[in-house]
Structures are given as structure tokens and as C-alpha cells.
């Protein structure tokens, strides 16, 4: 056992640092610094740079376009991208449907979709939740009825993140209404430009247009776009959820947030002392650092297990629970730090607007981010559902 980086690891870290410094899109950096909302082209700018370098999907098997990095290299990569404040790549193609396709897909599906996910040519969204099916996902009612070489799909999906930009969506649909809940579901890849699809925005508490409702009315989907067997879609769904949970912990990003909080709390004053000198505030920072270290090493143990051919199994629920709680506590602390300046509602610069925003720049998004981050304990299977998963799958209760 050894916790230190080898000389090769250190050289790799240097390579990564240099690459990011020289290639991170300058325009994107500017928008991030100003706290502006990011659009489709912003997300894709960094994605394309990484694709060109061959680093867009480190976790994929090499044969499908992965990097073949060791666990340590992947760890270094996530540390360095967080350290440099790189935006997170969207997970829908790269960490959700991509692994499902290379694990369960046909050779044709792999050949067609995987390169387009890697290049960013297709923007993916996730059609899982429905108005009546949140935590009880398997109760979903969107119907797909076979008609020759097609399915005809009718129903409604919700919480569909960034569907307004999406070219494709992966959907869970019911193909056998008479089977037991989990057994009548299929996994379909649907072209979002298909006739019969309507996307309606849902505006969340921070003012963002991040999620949508998706209505499907007599949408015709080729049977060739079904992944895995008919009525076996739940297998893909569970596989995807376990993969999603590993990355969802967001360790490196949270570490970066704490660094930022500490830097601000050293200059923000409270009377004649820095905020960080307030023993209560200081203790909250220390508690977050300690909990984050525990999460980090739990994730490293999980990754080491995966490298040895185990999982990720239901223990990834631990990562989801702790990671999401920590993300929320961080946003709480930033809002607390903002004091009075948590209240102004800054919507980004309007056209031709060059007035300075109100209050310190770091406080601009404190409240909207706090509001928005309430999602982390709800999405990806709520933390209560994760506890059900642990109870049933790990403890055998």
C-alpha cells in the first residue's frame, strides 16, 4: 500500500496541468468568471478540446475510445480539472448512455452512437422520471406499442435535464403492461427531432432553465433503436444508475469549493477579525474537510475495487448519499458567508450592460446555487431510495 504518487504519476500530473493551461477555452473561462449562465456551445467547447486530445471518456474501455488510465491517473485527472475550475462534462452521453450502449448494445448501435457521443456531435438527455413516477421509477407508464419495425410511443417524461439542446434521448418505456412492474420495461434511444415530441421548460428556484417536461405523442421509434432485449430495459436502467452514482460524489469539485470558501473567509471580515477566525464558522469548515476526506477515501476504495474487477455495486449508494450531502452543506456555507449580499437577484449581464453587479462577485450566485443544489439529494435516486438500496442489496434486509 502506498498513498504517494509515483514519479510517473507526477509526470502525468504535469502533462495534465500544462494541457489544461494551454487548451481550456478562454471565452468559457471568461463567462465562468462573470458568473454567466452557460449555453450549449459553452458546454461543447471544452468537450471538443478533450475529444481532439482523446481524453473525453477516461472511464471507457480502450476499445471504445477510453484512455486506459490507471485509477490514480483518473484521480489526478479529476483533481486537476477541478483545481483549474474546468466545467464538468455533461454526463448524459459520456457516463450514462455510453456505458449502457457499449455493455448492452448491438454492434450497429455501438458503431453508430459511441463515436458521436465522444465527438459531442449528439447531445443526449435522459427520459426516466414521469409525473407519477419519481422514486417509484418502475411504475412508469409511457407506453411503447410495437407496429412492424417501429414502436409507437405515447406518454410524458419530466425533469429532463437540458432536453432543450438534445439531439437524442434514452427513454424507459413500458412495452408489456401486463408484466410485473420491472419486467415490462424497455430501453429506447429516441431521436429528439422525431415528430410528436414537445419539450416544455421548467424554471427552477435559482431562475435557471435546466430541466424540462417532454411530451411524446405517437412518436415512431425504429425497433433497431432498442438497447438489449424487449422488456429487459430495467437491467440497463439499474446498471446506469450504479455507474451514475460513482461520479455523482463530486469529490474533486467539492474540494475545490472548500478551498475557495477558505480563501474568501480569510479576507471577509466580521468586526476586526476574518470570518475564518470565528470559531463556529471555522468548525463548519473543518467538519466539511473531514467529511470530504472520508468520502474521498471511500471513493478511492471503491475505485480500487473496480480496478480489481469488482462493482461498482450497490455500495456506490454510500458515495451518492455522502457526496450529495456535502455538496449541499458547501452551498449553505457560501450563502452564510455572503451575509446581506445573499439577497440580490443577479441575472447575468444584459445586452450592452456593463454596470458592475451588486455586492462581491463570489456572492452573486450564492443563493441561486443553494436553491438549485437542493436537487442533489433528490436526483439520481433520492437519498431515501439509496438507503433502501443499501438495506436490500448490501445488508440483505
Amino acid at each position: 500500500m502506498d498513498i504517494e504518487f509515483s514519479p510517473e504519476d507526477l509526470a502525468f500530473r504535469e502533462e495534465v496541468r500544462t494541457f489544461i493551461a494551454e487548451n481550456y477555452p478562454a471565452q468559457l473561462r471568461g463567462k465562468q468568471d462573470e458568473g454567466e449562465e452557460l449555453g450549449k456551445e459553452d458546454f461543447l467547447a471544452w468537450h471538443r478540446v478533450l475529444h481532439k486530445k482523446g481524453w473525453v471518456a477516461p472511464a471507457w474501455p480502450v476499445e471504445y475510445g477510453g484512455t486506459g488510465w490507471s485509477i490514480t491517473q483518473r484521480y489526478i485527472w479529476s483533481e486537476e480539472t477541478a483545481r483549474a475550475d474546468c466545467i464538468r462534462l455533461l454526463p448524459f452521453g459520456l457516463t450514462m448512455v455510453g456505458p449502457v450502449i457499449y455493455t448492452f448494445g448491438t454492434p450497429e448501435q455501438k458503431a453508430h452512437f459511441l463515436p458521436r457521443i465522444l465527438s459531442g456531435e449528439d447531445w443526449w438527455c435522459q427520459g426516466y422520471s414521469e409525473p407519477g413516477s419519481g422514486s417509484d421509477l418502475a411504475s412508469l407508464r409511457t407506453r411503447a406499442v410495437r407496429d412492424g419495425d417501429h414502436y409507437v410511443v405515447n406518454g410524458q417524461k419530466t425533469w429532463t435535464t437540458l432536453a432543450q439542446h438534445a439531439d437524442w434521448g434514452f427513454f424507459l418505456v413500458r412495452t408489456d403492461p401486463d408484466a410485473k412492474q420491472q419486467e415490462g420495461i424497455s430501453f429506447l434511444l429516441i431521436d429528439m427531432k422525431s415528430p410528436g415530441i414537445t419539450v416544455r421548460p421548467i424554471i427552477t428556484l435559482g431562475g435557471e432553465h435546466e430541466v424540462n417536461e417532454v411530451f411524446l405523442e405517437d412518436v415512431r421509434v425504429p425497433v433497431a433503436n432498442r438497447v438489449f432485449e424487449e422488456n429487459k430495459g430495467w437491467t440497463c436502467a439499474k446498471f446506469l444508475l450504479a455507474h451514475e452514482r460513482v461520479g455523482i460524489a463530486g469529490v474533486a469539485t467539492s474540494k475545490r469549493s472548500i478551498e475557495r470558501i477558505k480563501a474568501i473567509a480569510q479576507t471577509e471580515m466580521e468586526g476586526d477579525r476574518a470570518l475564518l477566525a470565528n470559531p463556529f464558522f471555522k468548525r463548519k469548515v473543518a467538519e466539511l474537510e473531514v467529511d470530504l476526506a472520508a468520502l474521498e477515501y471511500t471513493e478511492l476504495r471503491t475505485l480500487a475495487g473496480m480496478a480489481a474487477g469488482k462493482g461498482p455495486g450497490p455500495e456506490s449508494s454510500v458515495l451518492k448519499i455522502k457526496g450529495s450531502e456535502i455538496q449541499q452543506r458547501l452551498t449553505e456555507l457560501v450563502l452564510e458567508m455572503a451575509g446581506h449580499y445573499g439577497a440580490p437577484y443577479f441575472r447575468g449581464f444584459g445586452e450592452g450592460d456593463n454596470e458592475h453587479p451588486i455586492g462581491p462577485a463570489w456572492a452573486n450566485r450564492a443563493a441561486p446555487t443553494y436553491y438549485n443544489t437542493r436537487k442533489t439529494t433528490i436526483y439520481g435516486g433520492s437519498n431515501e431510495i439509496q438507503r433502501n438500496v443499501i438495506a436490500k442489496m448490501v445488508l440483505g434486509l
Partner: protein
């Protein structure tokens, strides 16, 4: 970075686990606790001279296997699983660790005796007034000719009634709570002038108040390293009890899960109730974080002092809190039977509760961590 165990390490674990499974049943342990000596000396003999496990964390030149902190982590985890009352922490981790770091003739003479099982060491560092401040020492070591004379009162010295040697912290100079002047001495337990008041501890060990009245020791009994070495050894000991906590927490969870599968109320096993399932899921979350922290801190023990101290305090702060949650939840979930002496779970809880504050509780370690890393 590599978080995998070697084959030898896996073998060590298996050997100890199998031995303990055979020797440390609930009834056997109770019998040890109730005996006059409070332990079964045959077990230590088996661990050392028969199975050769005590040599694991020592250098090959001294008759060891060339291991270190990782081996101690493995051992303590397994000892925790059966809440063993063997003095591994005091003798191998603390005594052995201090001597290994100090080196010299004292180490060369004593470490082989630790490995063979002939030397049992108790760590006399705490004092009635000192709480967790390692430099708050009133015991004096006055220069006397070539040697020293020790006088003072050491508090709650675990394993002292069994020990052949006492590892004592004492002051050769400096005022109370000053770092300067703190030294460690290895003293034969039957030296003239040492008296003890022995008692059982709530977690199954035996301990003593130890009084030193003008105890003469030779100059060679002093280890080199001063307060820095005391801190290093206590950090190593802290990670060892964190590893013990891993074994204890996982066992408490397993026993709780098993019990809720058998115990029926309202016509079904209580493990079917979601409120209990979620509590047990949270126990798993905390137990796994204990394991993660025990691993992290152990691997940081060789880091530069400031980094090591910060890491160890992070770990102990987390482990103390998580262990409290796991222990209290285990008792609550068992219900009435959990607060009796009749079932194992209560005995695990008694030990886990003592680990929470051993070498400092969560508050102490948060303060130390903050002082080291959060200026202003």
C-alpha cells in the same frame, strides 16, 4: 498510489482471524474477564511465539517481517472484530513503535523480547490533570549521577497489571505543559519505588493508577526523541484504535442486521421496517467511512509531522463521531436486550465508546486540526 494488500498481508489477516474465531467466543472472553488475572496469557503466547504474528511490523534485522503501520492496521481490525483484550496496542504499536523510532541498544534489546512474547509493555503517559495534552506532565525525571530518578502519578495505564515494562513520559526540565523537557523512559515494571492500584476497565481490560516514588533508572532507559516522538507514537496509536474501530463497527452492524432478521414484532421480523432499515443503511455509511479514514490516516503516518498530525486528527475526529453513531444505533435497534450484559453487542458498545475518547475525542482532534491547517 496503490490501495491493495499484498499476499503476505492477506495471509496475516487470515491467520489472525482464524485463530481469534477459535479462541475468542463470547463465553471464552467472559471467562477471561472474570479470571483473577483478567486475561488468558496463553493467547499472547500463541500470537507471539507460536503464530509469530508479533514480528509483522518490525524490521528484519530485529527479527521482524519488515512490515509496519499497514500490518498493525490489519491486526487491530481483526482484534476489534472479537473485541480482544490483548495488549497489542500497548506492546506492539506503542512500545514497539517508540523503540523502533528511538533505535539504539534499548531497541535492539527489547524488540526481540516483544516479538518473542516475553516483554509486555504498558504506556504510562496520561496524568490525572492532563486530559489529552501530551505535554501536561507533572511526573519528574531528575538527573541523578549517571541515571534518573522518576517521581509522579500516572493515570489509567491500560495493561499495567500485566506489563513487564512501563513506557513512561516524564519531565527532565521545563514547566508544566511546556514541550521542552518531555522525555520517555522504558522502566522495568517491578523496579523498586513503583506501586500500583489495579482495577478493571469498563471495556474489559485491566489498568492501574501507577505511582513512582524516587524510582531510579539508568541513563540508557531514556528514549531519544522527546515530545516529538511522544506525539508520533500517540498518532500511531490513534490510527491503531481507528483500525480497531473498523472491525468493531462492521461487526456491530453485522450483528444488528442479523438480530433484526430474527426478532419479530407486529408479526414480522423488525428488519422489514423501513425506519430500522434506513438506520442500518446509515450505520453502513458511517462504518465504511471509519474504514476509509483508518486507511487514510495509517498511510499518512510516514508523512512529515505537520501533515501527519493534520491527517490523524481528521481521521480521529471522524471516527469518533461515526463510531458513536454506529454504537448507539446498534443498541437502539437491539432494544432492551442491547443494554444487558447477556448479548455480545453491549460489550462491543462498551469498547467502542471508550475508543471515541481514547487519545482524544472529536472536539480535541477538530481543535488540533484547525490549529494546524486553518489560520486566522
Amino acid at each position: 498510489m496503490d490501495l491493495s494488500y499484498t499476499e503476505t498481508q492477506e495471509m496475516l489477516r487470515d491467520t489472525l482471524a482464524r485463530f481469534l474465531a477459535d479462541t475468542y467466543s463470547f463465553e471464552a472472553r467472559q471467562k477471561m474477564l472474570d479470571s483473577a488475572e483478567g486475561r488468558d496469557p496463553g493467547i499472547w503466547k500463541a500470537l507471539s511465539s507460536e503464530l509469530g504474528l508479533t514480528c509483522a511490523p518490525f524490521a528484519e534485522e530485529l527479527g521482524g517481517m519488515g512490515g509496519g503501520a499497514t500490518e498493525n492496521m490489519i491486526m487491530m481490525e481483526e482484534l476489534g472484530k472479537v473485541i480482544a483484550i490483548e495488549p497489542w496496542l500497548q506492546t506492539v504499536v506503542i512500545g514497539g513503535g517508540a523503540l523502533r523510532a528511538s533505535g539504539g541498544a534499548l531497541a535492539e534489546a527489547t524488540i526481540p523480547a516483544i516479538i518473542s512474547g516475553d516483554a509486555l509493555i504498558a504506556f504510562a503517559y496520561a496524568e490525572p490533570q492532563g486530559r489529552y495534552n501530551l505535554a501536561d506532565i507533572g511526573t519528574t525525571a531528575k538527573k541523578d549521577g549517571a541515571g534518573y530518578v522518576l517521581s509522579g502519578h500516572k493515570a489509567v495505564v491500560y495493561a499495567a497489571p500485566w506489563a513487564t515494562h512501563l513506557l513512561v513520559t516524564a519531565r527532565t526540565g521545563g514547566g508544566r505543559r511546556e514541550r521542552e523537557g518531555v522525555e520517555m523512559f522504558l522502566v522495568e515494571a517491578n523496579s523498586p519505588g513503583i506501586s500500583r492500584r489495579d482495577y478493571p476497565t469498563v471495556d474489559g481490560f485491566r489498568a492501574s493508577e501507577v505511582y513512582f516514588e524516587n524510582v531510579s533508572v539508568p541513563a540508557e532507559a531514556m528514549l531519544s526523541g522527546g515530545i516529538d516522538l511522544v506525539e508520533q507514537v500517540v498518532d500511531e496509536a490513534t490510527m491503531a484504535v481507528c483500525s480497531e474501530a473498523t472491525g468493531i463497527a462492521r461487526t456491530m452492524l453485522a450483528q444488528t442486521v442479523e438480530y433484526t432478521g430474527q426478532r419479530k414484532q407486529f408479526g414480522q421480523p423488525i428488519g422489514k421496517f423501513q425506519s430500522l432499515q434506513h438506520r442500518m443503511a446509515d450505520m453502513l455509511v458511517e462504518a465504511e467511512q471509519i474504514a476509509s479514514m483508518a486507511l487514510m490516516g495509517t498511510l499518512k503516518l510516514d508523512a512529515p509531522a505537520a501533515e501527519r498530525k493534520a491527517a490523524v486528527s481528521m481521521c480521529k475526529a471522524k471516527v469518533s463521531r461515526s463510531l458513536k453513531f454506529v454504537g448507539q444505533s446498534a443498541i437502539q435497534t437491539h432494544g432492551g436486550i442491547g443494554i444487558t450484559m447477556e448479548l455480545g453487542i453491549g460489550h462491543y458498545f462498551k469498547r467502542s465508546t471508550m475508543i471515541e475518547n481514547q487519545f482524544g475525542g472529536a472536539d480535541h482532534h477538530f481543535e488540533r486540526y484547525e490549529a494546524l491547517t486553518l489560520p486566522a
